[in-house]
């Protein structure tokens, strides 16, 4: 037994993403995988990963950094591949989760139609989007998940359009469970993964994933950046049940937005109007607050 595996109360648990993977140091996706492993408590899963950093990190055939059976899907198709896998699993008495693990490119953009269709059919899978707000694998181009004002290689002066509301889209599909995940709030993360695991149908989890290369931030600040994102309100932690009942898991405190954006050169290098972002955050929280009060979970 090597020391490469997580030790969990003295026993060895093989991590979903094993050491020897090629993710950058401090990658938010890696942290997400460790927390996922902790949440699953040794339950086997199958992974479907589209073209993105997530599949590249497995390394070169024939070895793989993934410790669970994994299918590399074409960029737009993870929810379709997973539909097939989940259907056959169910036929054959296998109730372990089929999990899509896709970036914002494969979720918000090229994969949106596939995602929408799988959600509309309420396919039985857990879809996790690790959102680093760029097309990370190809060097950091803008996606529809890129926030307004952020500098990327294809929006060097700062993106003109606001970030697409993928949670709103998934809510409109009235899927049984949708939630946002924070890699800085472990208990909340584990609880939501377990809730998803114990729900049937289409479950969507959105994880804001710090990318030190794309965000031009320090790798050791990855967890702290997300904590601040939650604290200043830019990344709300909440759950939506059946598209109609809302629960807010954490309220923003008085942490200013500048604590978040000041540590990422992708923000500080562009001609960004912080006031616009502030207004977007306020608007989002007015909506969430109203929904949670009027339609509580």
């Amino acid at each position: 037994m090597t020391t490469a595996f997580i030790q969990n109360d003295g026993t060895c648990v093989e991590s979903v993403l094993r050491p020897g993977n090629t993710n950058c140091a401090g990658c938010g996706m890696s942290i997400g995988f460790q927390l996922l492993t902790q949440a699953l408590e040794r339950e086997p899963i199958m992974l479907v990963i589209p073209a993105c950093c997530g599949i590249v990190t497995a390394g070169a055939f024939p070895t793989s950094a993934y410790g669970v059976p994994t299918a590399a899907a074409t960029f737009a198709s993870s929810a379709a591949f997973a539909t097939g896998l989940a259907t056959v699993a169910e036929f054959n008495g296998d109730d372990h989760p089929v999990v899509c693990w896709a970036g914002d490119g494969g979720t918000y953009d090229i994969g949106l139609a596939t995602l929408s269709a799988a959600a509309e059919r309420n396919e039985n899978m857990i879809y996790v989007c690790y959102d680093n707000e760029i097309y990370g694998n190809t060097g950091g181009q803008r996606s529809s998940a890129t926030p307004e004002g952020v500098a990327t290689t294809t929006s060097p002066g700062g993106k003109s359009e606001p970030k697409k509301d993928i949670m709103g889209i998934m809510t409109a599909h009235r899927i049984p469970y949708a939630a946002t995940l924070s890699v800085a709030h472990r208990e909340d993360f584990l609880h939501k993964v377990r809730t998803a695991r114990n729900t049937r149908g289409f479950r969507f989890l959105l994880m804001l994933s710090p990318c030190p290369i794309g965000w031009k931030s320090e790798p050791d600040e990855s967890v702290e950046l997300i904590r601040v994102a939650v604290a200043c309100g830019v990344f709300p932690l909440y759950e939506v049940f059946d598209g109609s009942r809302f629960r807010i898991n954490a309220r923003p405190d008085a942490t200013p937005l500048v604590d978040y954006i000041g540590r990422q050169k992708r923000y500080t290098r562009s001609r960004l109007d912080v006031g616009i972002l502030d207004e977007q955050i306020k608007r989002q929280w007015r909506y969430l607050g109203t929904m949670a009060t009027t339609f509580p979970a």
Binding site: G59, S64, P69, T70, T83, L85, T87, H96, A117
Partner: protein, 390 residues
């Protein structure tokens, strides 16, 4: 077997369903399906079928239809779908994935012209578009050929020596929407004929492996070679499959190609699908007039049956290819393959005829014009267009 009067689409849907149902003894069947003219009746049939252990998923696009098939096949189920024309074009990325993943998926291609501009009529260009995608390709000429070849397709695809997906093509409208008499199989026969589907490299909880991750050039080249090796084994497996088919169904479907009057022919014409049936009537008429004309119906396109074709051509010195397809900047695609095959036969005059492109009715008169042109030609020339022959 039950004798029925049905459309080609009905026959195809029915046969796919029975094949899928046969796998209820193993991991079941599943596929994604998206409608497109002239294929819709197939998927409507499938969606109405009560599978014991199967599901046809009404996806939002053909790209996802193949995605679901891939997922299902990676899960170890028997997987199938159908499409045409632009649907196939939209699906192409995942068609390559299915081939490179060595998954035994069966797809019906109801041949239809690619667009836009929109054209709903028959042309083989849509299935030929992905001839490089590691799929076995069959071109059927009749309802019976279609039904029988679908069953052969599953048998060959899932054979451990092969493990490649198979596309079975039929003519849009001419076959798909035309009612003809056909012997449809019984479930019990299909159960006997098709062994349980086993995908050896499917995803299993007891063996974590990643299918499809980054692969270096050396492994990729080797992988392509393995696919070619599998393709090379297709004739052997196909004929074994036909032998087994004969035992269950009492007839032998055509394998790679079928010949008519080629033994003593000096002039041979080659065509596929329903056009080959018209060709046969034209050749028969010539024979009755004492002309030594022969014909070959091309059925297996991938792997391209070079040796069998060379034997079929025999001692003929003139070969004409009827292509209802066109690769812009070159010529007909069957012609290109046959030209490569005939490089050992520099004595043969090989001429390409582009007929019926965009779905026009190819009449015996048109074929007569082709035969006459071929017979009188001094040497081969650029592919000859139908409109240039009138």
């Amino acid at each position: 077997m039950a004798r029925a009067l049905v459309t080609g689409n009905h026959a195809a849907g029915y046969t796919l369903a029975l094949a899928g149902e046969a796998n209820r003894v193993a991991r079941g069947c599943c596929g994604g399906a998206y409608p497109i003219t002239p294929q819709t009746e197939i998927i409507e049939f499938l969606r109405g079928f009560q599978f014991t252990k199967g599901r046809v998923v009404p996806v939002e696009s053909e790209h996802s239809a193949m995605g679901v098939c891939i997922g299902a096949s990676l899960g170890g189920a028997r997987a199938f779908t159908a499409s045409s024309s632009n649907g196939l074009a939209y699906m192409v990325e995942n068609i390559f994935a299915a081939g490179y993943y060595r998954l035994p998926i069966v797809m019906i291609a109801v041949n239809r012209t690619l667009g836009p501009p929109w054209n709903i009529w028959v042309d083989q260009g849509d299935s030929l578009m992905f001839r490089d995608a590691a799929w076995i390709q069959f071109y059927t000429d009749s309802h019976q050929d279609l039904v029988d070849t679908i069953l052969l397709a599953f048998r060959v695809a899932e054979d451990k020596r092969i493990l490649l997906p198979v596309v079975v093509a039929m003519d849009g409208f001419v076959t798909s929407h035309t009612q003809m008499v056909v012997e449809l199989p019984e479930q019990e026969q299909v159960d006997r004929y098709l062994p349980a589907c086993e995908v050896p490299h499917r995803l299993r909880h007891d063996h974590p492996a990643t299918v499809g991750g980054m692969t270096w050039p050396r492994e990729t080249a080797h992988h392509r070679r393995e696919i070619q090796n599998a393709m090379d084994r297709v004739p052997e497996v196909l004929y074994q499959a036909i032998d087994e088919f004969a035992e269950v169904f009492g007839r032998r479907p055509v394998g790679a190609l079928e010949t008519e009057f080629t033994e003593d022919a000096k002039t041979v014409l080659i065509a596929c699908n329903t056009m080959a049936r018209t060709l046969r009537r034209a050749v028969l008429a010539r024979r009755e007039r004492g002309q030594h004309v022969g014909m070959i119906r091309a059925k297996l396109f991938r792997p391209f049956p070079r040796e069998e074709l060379l034997r079929a051509i025999g001692s003929a010195r003139r070969v004409g290819v009827l292509d209802r397809n066109h690769s812009a900047g070159s010529g007909g695609i069957f012609w290109q393959e046959i030209a490569a095959t005939l490089q050992e036969r520099p004595d043969v005059l090989l001429q390409d005829y582009l007929v019926g492109l965009g779905g026009g009715d190819v009449t015996p008169e048109i074929i007569d014009g082709v035969i006459d042109d071929l017979a009188s030609r001094a040497r081969a020339t650029q592919p000859i267009w139908q409109e240039a022959m009138t």
